[in-house]
């Protein structure tokens, strides 16, 4: 029946929200204990793993409004974790580039971060994780394009 199908979708929405929030809450605590807030950490990790990024792109990847990017990048710059680099080709564009201090920070904190996530996920077996990954990809990819 159509009605049951809708309430099943609602139920999935609820368990998805709960699982995300429960895990994220713990993850954020560890991040904040390191001295950065979750957004700052996300930006710095992006620069570490993907290299220099125009401010614009940071917003797209971390899902942050343009006004907020300026703010977060300011903070990280004040902390010496990144520097702004003017783009030589297009003077509208500014790149954010991680510093040595920023790299050292990520290299110190990231393994613990990864390990914590791993233990928060230990209630699923490897094959269950793979199933969950496949299902969530199938769920999230189309939703991102609406």
């Amino acid at each position: 029946m159509e009605n049951d199908s809708v309430s099943q979708s609602l139920k999935l929405f609820i368990v998805l929200s709960r699982a995300y929030k429960a895990i994220n809450e713990h993850v954020n605590k560890v991040i904040q204990a390191s001295g950065l807030n979750p957004t700052e950490f996300a930006v710095l990790e992006l620069l570490y793993h993907k290299g220099d990024q125009p401010m614009q792109q940071i917003g797209g990847k971390i899902l942050l409004a343009s006004g907020s990017i300026t703010y977060v990048v300011d903070k990280l710059e004040q902390k010496g974790m990144l520097v702004r680099i003017a783009c030589p080709n297009d003077r509208r564009v500014t790149f954010a580039q991680i510093t040595d201090k920023g790299k050292a920070f990520i290299e110190e904190v990231f393994p613990e971060h990864a390990q914590q996530i791993h233990s928060l996920m230990s209630s699923l077996s490897d094959s269950e994780k793979q199933e969950a990954i496949d299902l969530l990809k199938k769920l999230g990819l189309p939703a991102g394009k609406f």
Copy 2:
């Protein structure tokens, strides 16, 4: 290998975050178009579906600090969606109670809300949704208890 297992957990964390954020972004837009913000909507829906609640309990269920509850309940009271009721047995406690206007609001907006979630989830079949529900429960319940 242990290392692959950790990176699989990281991958699950990423797809979980993406799926949640992608869906939530759309859901929040519809809610905000109705004139409430997501937190206000969550509180009002709680009162509609679960009856009168002490302020304290609202915080526990919606995951909100006590200072924020006061603020949100103020807003909803100003909008005529709920009223504060003093508890006759324990004068420390204040109940929040949804008004007729609040009920009418939820009855108008909720079906559209549910339908939107349903269509955001249409990339999964009913049986895949059930698998996802089971896996996310197994993942989220223990994480909530850490």
